[in-house]
Every structure is written in C-alpha cells, then in structure tokens.
C-alpha cells in the first residue's frame, strides 16, 4: 500500500485511513464527514489528493495525440488554461475522466484518477507509439497534490504567494512559489467551491513545510483536513461524475451528460463515430440526478431504480446531502424517465422508497 507524503500528518490528525486506489488515504478525521463538508462550504478545507496521476505529454505531436485520445477540443487551450475532458475507447466507452493542462507550446499535463493510473498510462502509451514526435512521462509518484477548497481558500493562499490568485479564472492556472516551493496553482477542484489545486514536487520535508504553512495561514478561518468521505458528499451535491461509479468503460459521454465537453466538430477521435451516432439518435438511457422523497432511505451505489414495478436502472452514486438534508443520488434511467419531475422509486430492504428526478447540480 502506497503512502502519500502527508501520511504521518493524517495519522497524527486522527484520520481513519482506508485503502483507496492503491494508497492508504484518509476517509475522515475525528470531526466527521458532515462537519468536514460544512467546513469546505463555509470556510476552507485541505484535501490530500496525491493519489491522482500526472502524465507529462510533450513534443510536436502532443496536441495531435491528446486530440485523438480525448473528447474535448484541446486545440482551444492556451498556456495557463486547463480543461475537463474524458479519454474514450473506440466503443465510445469512457477510459477515464481527466484534466488536460496546457503548460506551454507542445507541453501538456494530463491529470487522471488515482485508481486508473496504470490503465490510463498503458492506453496513452499505446496510442503515443503511433506518433513520431511525442513523449509521455508518468510523473504520478513525484507530484504531491493538495486541494485547498472553500470560500476562504483564496484569502488563505494569497498570504503565501506573489501570484495574484483572485485574477486566476476557473480552469486556469499559474506557476508560482508558495512557502518557497515552486508549484502549479490551479483554479480547479471537485467541490463546487472556489479553490485551488497545488501541484508540486519534493521530499516529505518539502511537502510538510508547504502544508504547515497553509494551515498556519488558514488558522484564522478554521482550516481543517478533509477526507474522501466529504469529498464524495461535496462532489455529489454538485452532480460531478465519479469514475468507476457514474462513468465507466461501459458508459458513453452523451448518456453520462457530458455532451458539454464532447466536441464532435473538432474532428475524429477515439469513439467519435459511435458517440456521433448516439447523439444523432438520442441516447437510450441518461444519467440523472434524483432526490429522495422519503427521509428513511439514503440511496447507495448499486440499489435498483424501479418504475411502475419494473427495474429500470441502478443507482451509480448516492449519499445524504448535508446541504439539502435529504438523500440524493445519480443513476441511469431510460430516456423517457429522465425528465425532471419524473417520480421513480429506489429499492432497498425489501421495499421501495419514492424519489424524484431533478436537474443537477442539486444545489
């Protein structure tokens, strides 16, 4: 089991550690998931997401490779911009969702899910071999990654760096130093709150210095560590897909509600013909958000979705929404049942509980 550079700090903070993506990661700290959730919504929290993977893709063919592999139009990127995208198979299924950073001309960084690093690297390398002028370097084990998220995140970080953070737009990044350590400060996150993700390299001592400095700066705002449990409730309230749950090798971007990042006009890419056909004909099923209309059940991944006594789909993500005070979830249903306002039922404990299809984000 791999440990991140912050492992000893998590343990000292009383974290409950679990196995996740091959890493020993904090799922929650002693204050609990609900309190951590509120800290990020109201103040500032810090996530260790060093399990994420970083691939550096360089060379004259780097853009062509990325265009072939991903659904979004990477030619629209300029240095300092990032985009949310997905790696697709020729079947149209999703290998992974990812962030594509344009560092400079012919210089990109792909940030992928920790659980998929090996799969994604093999996939990218396999396609890279078709190009003459591109190199792919897996830097996953060298990068530390901290997500500092919440309405007080900018005040916290601005004390520590010369980079003018308030001027960095969403999905943009700057190179700067923080605590004297060079890093990428990226205005991105998985919480729906304003925040930055900090990519940097160095020893455990360097990582400790960075995070200690951030916690000192955020002390007046009640800064706290946030675990994977609250990461899930925070992203779910915003309707963000989780790879392995809501999107998989067997789901295509159109039915997953990712049409907004799927730029069919950019030219052919892996699976674009299949995806075009789905778009033209309309998907047979759609990923929808639903809110429980019973307080008795929190929906969980794998629960059956029922309509008129028949199984019509399955819950792919579910939890309690601390913001709404009720259960919320995502799941695939036939397109005819995907309109907001449609009543469905979630099956559990030998019975069913009412739920309503709603627009996402939930709040």
């Amino acid at each position: 089991m791999t440990q991140t550079a912050f492992h000893a700090i998590h343990v000292a903070a009383g974290a409950k550690m679990v196995s996740f993506a091959g890493f020993e990661m904090p799922i929650q700290y002693p204050v609990g998931i609900l309190a951590e959730h509120r800290i990020v919504r109201n103040g500032v929290g810090v996530f260790d997401v060093s399990h994420m993977g970083e691939f550096e893709v360089k060379g004259a063919d780097a853009l062509a490779l990325i265009q072939l592999l991903t659904v979004n139009d990477a030619s629209k990127l300029v240095p300092g911009k990032a985009q949310y995208s997905a790696l697709t198979r020729p079947s149209g299924g999703i290998v992974d969702d990812l962030l594509v950073y344009m560092i400079g001309e012919n210089d990109y960084m792909l940030v992928v899910n920790g659980a998929n690093v090996d799969k994604d690297l093999a996939w990218v390398m396999q396609h890279a071999s078709e190009f003459e002028h591109v190199t792919v370097a897996d830097e996953s084990s060298n990068y530390h990654l901290l997500a500092v998220q919440g309405p007080k995140s900018i005040e916290t970080l601005q004390k520590l760096t010369d980079a003018n953070l308030i001027d960095v737009p969403y999905y943009s990044f700057v190179h700067g130093t923080l605590a004297g350590v060079p890093m990428i400060l990226s205005r991105t996150g998985y919480t729906g709150e304003i925040g930055f993700e900090l990519y940097f390299k160095g020893s455990v001592d360097v990582a400790t210095k960075v995070v200690t400095t951030i916690f000192d700066a955020g002390a007046e705002y009640g800064i706290a560590w946030i675990g994977l449990g609250a990461r899930d409730t925070l992203r779910l309230e915003k309707g963000y897909c989780l790879y392995g749950n809501d999107i998989t090798d067997d789901t295509n971007p159109i039915e997953a509600g990712l049409s907004w990042i799927t730029k069919l006009a950019k030219g052919p890419f892996n699976g674009s013909d299949v995806i075009q056909a789905v778009k033209t004909n309309g998907p047979t099923r759609k990923l929808v958000g639903f809110v429980m209309r019973s307080e008795k059940l929190i929906p969980r991944t794998g629960y059956t979705i029922v309509s008129n006594g028949a199984t019509v789909g399955a819950v792919t993500s579910g939890n309690t929404s601390p913001g709404l005070g009720t259960g919320i979830g995502l799941g695939y249903v036939p397109t005819a049942l995907s309109t907001p306002g449609t009543m469905i039922e979630i099956a559990a404990r030998g019975t069913t509980f009412p739920a309503e299809v709603v627009k996402i984000p939930f709040l």
Binding site: I33, L34, K296, L297
Partner: protein, 125 residues
Amino acid sequence: MNLPADLKYTSDHEWIRVDGDVGTIGVTDHAQGELGDVVYVDIPDAGAAVGKGDTFGSIEAVKTVADLYAPVSGQLIEVNEVNAAPDSVNKDPYGNGWLVKMKLSDLSELNALMDVDAYKALIGA
C-alpha cells in the same frame, strides 16, 4: 471507548439494558464510531413481535447503512424519537441515543449475550 459495565452486548455491536422484563436497546460506542455520522434510524414496525436475530430496522450513516438485529426475542414497545437529533446516537449512544424498548419474551436468552469483558475482547478494546 465508553463501554458501561452494567449492559449486555451482542456481536452485532448492540447493547441491551434490562429493567424487569423490558430491555432498552442501542448501538455501542464502537459501532457509532465505525458508522460515523448517523443521519436516520428507520424502525418501521413499532409494536412488532421479533425473534432473536431478526432484523427490526436500519441505521443510515453518511458512509454506510447497517441493519439492526434483535438481541433477544420480544415485542417492540417504544421507538425513540431519535430522528429529531440523529447525532445523539453518535454523541450519547447509551443515553439519549437509545433506539428501541422491547418487552422480553424469554429472559433466559440474555444469558447468551456478552458481558462487557467479552465484548471488549471481541473488539480488541
């Protein structure tokens, strides 16, 4: 870990406090810690007769859901209104966070439950 000595415990991490032929049942401090934040307790059949080991409800926490099992046989006679403040199960599992009261039908079944030392050994406390 708070483990009162005057209670009986089950391997499902529940406790029972017996007063005459009425047992008060809840989950242990260990159980609430493992569950994390409790958000709803569903005990659908107040008044039901339950057999030892029967599922009589479920406890929804943020991380997971757990079934509730009858430690002994009897009839559910009172369900705590814990959903007004479900975090009482976390904060006070042996007090305000109790879940259900049961009229016991066979007091001898209590002999098969664990005392505090046996339960401590089970959870490695």
